[in-house]
Amino acid sequence: MTLLVAVLRRAVAGLVVLWAAATAAYLALLAAPGDTVDSIIGDGADTPLIRSQIVREWHLDRPAVVQYLDYLWRAAHGDLGRSYLLQRPVRDVIGEQVWPTLKLALCSALLGVLLALILAVLTRRPWARRVSSTVELVLVSTPPFLIGIVLLSVFSFRLGAFPVSGDRGFAALVLPAVTLALPIAGLLTQVLRDGLDRALEEPFAVTARARGLRESAVLVRHALRHALLPAVTLTGWLFGILLGGAVIIEQVFGRPGLGQVTLSAVTSKDMPVVLAVVVLSAAVYVLLNTAADLANLLVDPRLRRS
């Protein structure tokens, strides 16, 4: 029963977040200079006749409040409208781009976390730490754009090991995933290493050692658990990196995906698509944070008791 209430509370909170995100995005676009007709016309011919036809086509003559309520009403029924720019239903535009981005995001997140775990645990010796943290710092501070171009010119243009572009099989996924994973690994490693250092100084580490546990077992079985907590909290940040990174990575690698859709929708003020992307991102964010909370329960038994 309490579980059901908890789940319900979560669901309602999630819906409120979605509504707030959609409304905030709507208001932001409304407040931006120039109206919708301006952005549909772009730098093309502009006459009263053209304007009136655009207004009629998209029903822009209604008050903003009515348009907003109409949007909410239709969105609640699963109709996200049509893209001003691409002239297709938003559901199709977004729908066909979700999987390529998701694939990229999952692979890079997995790779990034794996790399971070391995690096944080293996580079405990002072010299290895020094080398590793220098590399991490470089990776965190290098724009993904540059990493992508460098990886491309070495592994694709020079060595021909991977194809340059598109969503065509696993080989085409390797370079973009690595590009996106490296900065993630960089930051996560630093956080994990810091957590490990702290945990190893705690009294329980001494106790474990006194029980005769080997140093590696102390590290992996006890200290790592503690170190994971702050890392798990970074999930929201991770999501931001993945989405922001996708915009650039997809552009550089000529990959289809949400990043490209978002970029063109924002620059052309394609309201229906922007709103859909915002709502989708908010939904994923809510899901991820819930997952992070659950993961914390798994990692930290103290949380389970309370």
């Binding site: 730098d43 655009i54 002239q87 572009s165 690698f253 000529g254």
Partner: protein, 544 residues
């Protein structure tokens, strides 16, 4: 009645000779050997079209894709005239108010529908449907009264006033013929794609948004225009256009052999192509209007012709172009592009690059004082002019060019050019509120007259100079009313003499161009006559 009208029109009649042949300017093929049929090609392009429906066409960069699967009634030759395509010829009657086209009778759309006069009418009806293509209806077809199906092989366009630009429209992507059946059946009509059937040498069969578009050969194709390079079906079995937005990535994909052709090679990357013996690089100058700065004459300081002249004299265009484009740009001297038959060559060298004269002109116009930062002032007001660029439409490093010009005019004449690169909404707002003094633009219209109508007519849709000159309007009307090449040329020469010469409304900067880089194994690549953009893939082959 109809017969007599046609006969009366015989004076103005222009009848095509099918033999009229103007060869396509080839840019590759020396190493590719004789044309061979078969094979496939991958071509990396810079721009992913926002639509595949030719009626909705708005991006010159998408033109090379349109003609693969769609065709028009006429096509441009390389001398400013027209060649038969889906029409075998046309006659002009009623003093230029009726154009009657004879159509080919052996053409079918790729969905099996026959191409005939009813299909042409269905296309025009669709374009005029409310909300479908408002720009085309308001600009290209503004003088259209009705379309008449005379018989299955004859269609007549009746106009409200003489308008030779109808021919330009009927050779443009917006005037391309789409199967009426698919126009009715398409679920996403305005987006186009595999749903829309055309008559072209290729069939668009696969589109992956954000990645690529794929065409396969239309085996039934046998109606290429006389300047297409060969007859019968296309050489290639299939062609894939991959969308690679980053120029360095396109070049890398080409040098590593992952694609065979790329389009869009900026100045900074051209050395990589020319240094590679397996690759070729070629450029085509675009048609339409040159990339120019238009002076807003509705308020100070550019309401004074002396200040406009001073701005042009303050700038050494060649120097800034060399600095920004490393010698790859072609300087423009007129608002009309240098490849147009209307281009007025006599304007070359008549203005600009004279700082001393610029300073005298500004002194004379009252901008004689200088403030602490070295800018000229008049009555305590600084000589500031604002250029607002819309970020989504900045290309060819035009933002960098603007900064270079900014530095140049400050140094030579103390003019404060304020450049801001902003979002589309802010840019449009600045234009509507008249908060700008300089407007930059280039148009890729195949008939320069169409561009000038938009830019210079007192009610023109892109008239940003604010010029309202009855004499200029009359000249523009004259250029549009007649099909007589000599008369049109005279009208447009006079316009250029006034606008560029006398009134200094515009500062022409460079003639935009397109670049193709390709492996030497690829033959038959060319630029489209008149338009100057990369041609479609009909005549392209790959050495086996």
């Amino acid at each position: 009645m109809r017969r007599s009208r046609l006969r009366a029109a015989a004076l103005a009649a222009v009848l095509f000779l099918l033999a009229a042949c103007s060869s396509t300017a080839g840019v590759s093929g020396a190493d590719a050997g004789a044309p061979v049929s078969g094979g496939s090609l991958t071509w990396a392009v810079e721009t992913e079209p926002i639509t595949f429906n030719p009626h909705q066409y708005a991006q010159a960069k998408a033109r090379l894709l349109v003609w693969n699967s769609f065709e028009a009634l006429l096509t441009h030759d390389d001398k400013g005239g027209y060649l038969p395509w889906l029409a075998t010829g046309y006659q002009v009657a009623a003093g230029g108010k009726t154009y009657t086209f004879k159509l080919r009778t052996d053409v079918t759309f790729s969905d099996g529908t026959r191409f005939d006069a009813a299909a042409v009418k269905a296309n025009i009806d669709q374009i005029l449907a409310p909300g479908y293509a408002p720009t085309v209806a308001a600009v290209q077809l503004k003088n259209l009264a009705s379309v008449e199906v005379v018989d299955p092989a004859t269609v007549a366009f009746h106009l409200t006033k003489p308008d030779v630009l109808l021919l330009d429209f009927l050779s443009s992507p917006q005037g391309a013929q789409v199967s009426p059946k698919s126009l009715k059946a398409a679920t996403n009509l305005k987006a186009g794609g595999p749903e829309l059937a055309g008559t072209g040498p290729f069939i668009l069969d696969r589109y992956t948004a954000g990645q690529e578009v794929h065409f396969r050969r239309n085996p039934a194709y046998n109606w290429a225009p006389a300047n297409a390079g060969h007859t019968g079906p296309a050489y290639l079995d299939e062609i894939t256009y991959r969308f690679l937005k980053e120029s360095s990535v396109r070049v890398g994909a080409l040098t590593s052999g992952q694609v065979q052709v790329i389009e869009g090679v900026p100045a900074t990357d051209q050395a990589q192509i020319t240094a590679n013996s397996g690759l070729t690089l070629s450029k085509g100058l675009n048609s339409g209007s040159a990339y120019s700065y238009y002076f807003n004459t509705t308020h100070a300081p550019f309401d004074d012709v002396r200040v406009r002249q001073a701005f042009r004299d303050a700038l050494d265009v060649d120097t800034v172009l060399t600095a920004v484009y490393r010698g790859t740009a072609t300087r423009a001297w007129s608002v009309v592009g240098p490849t147009s038959p209307f281009y007025d060559k006599s304007l070359e060298g008549t203005y600009g690059g004279n700082a001393q004269r610029a300073n005298q002109e500004l002194d004379a116009a009252g901008w004689a004082q200088r403030d602490a930062e070295g800018y000229r002032t008049r009555n305590g007001q600084r000589l500031t002019v604002r250029l607002v660029q819309s970020a989504p439409f900045v290309r060819d490093r035009r933002d960098i060019l603007a900064q270079t010009i900014q530095a140049a005019v400050k140094q030579s004449a103390g003019i404060d050019l304020k450049v801001s690169v902003v979002d589309q909404g802010t840019a449009t707002k600045a234009l509507t509120d008249n908060q700008y003094e300089v407007f930059d633009n280039s148009r890729a219209d195949t008939d320069a007259g169409a561009a000038l109508n938009l830019l210079l007519y007192s009610t023109g849709a892109i008239n940003r100079t604010g010029v309202k000159d009855a004499a200029l309007d009359r000249l523009l009307d004259a250029g549009q009313a007649t099909g007589d090449a000599a008369k049109r040329q005279a009208a447009y020469r006079e316009i250029q003499r006034r606008v560029v010469g006398e009134q200094a409304l515009v500062l022409p900067l460079y003639a935009p161009n397109d670049q193709i880089a390709a492996a030497k194994t690829v033959g038959g690549l060319s630029f489209e006559p008149t338009a100057g953009v990369p041609n479609d893939a009909y005549n392209v082959w790959v050495r086996k």
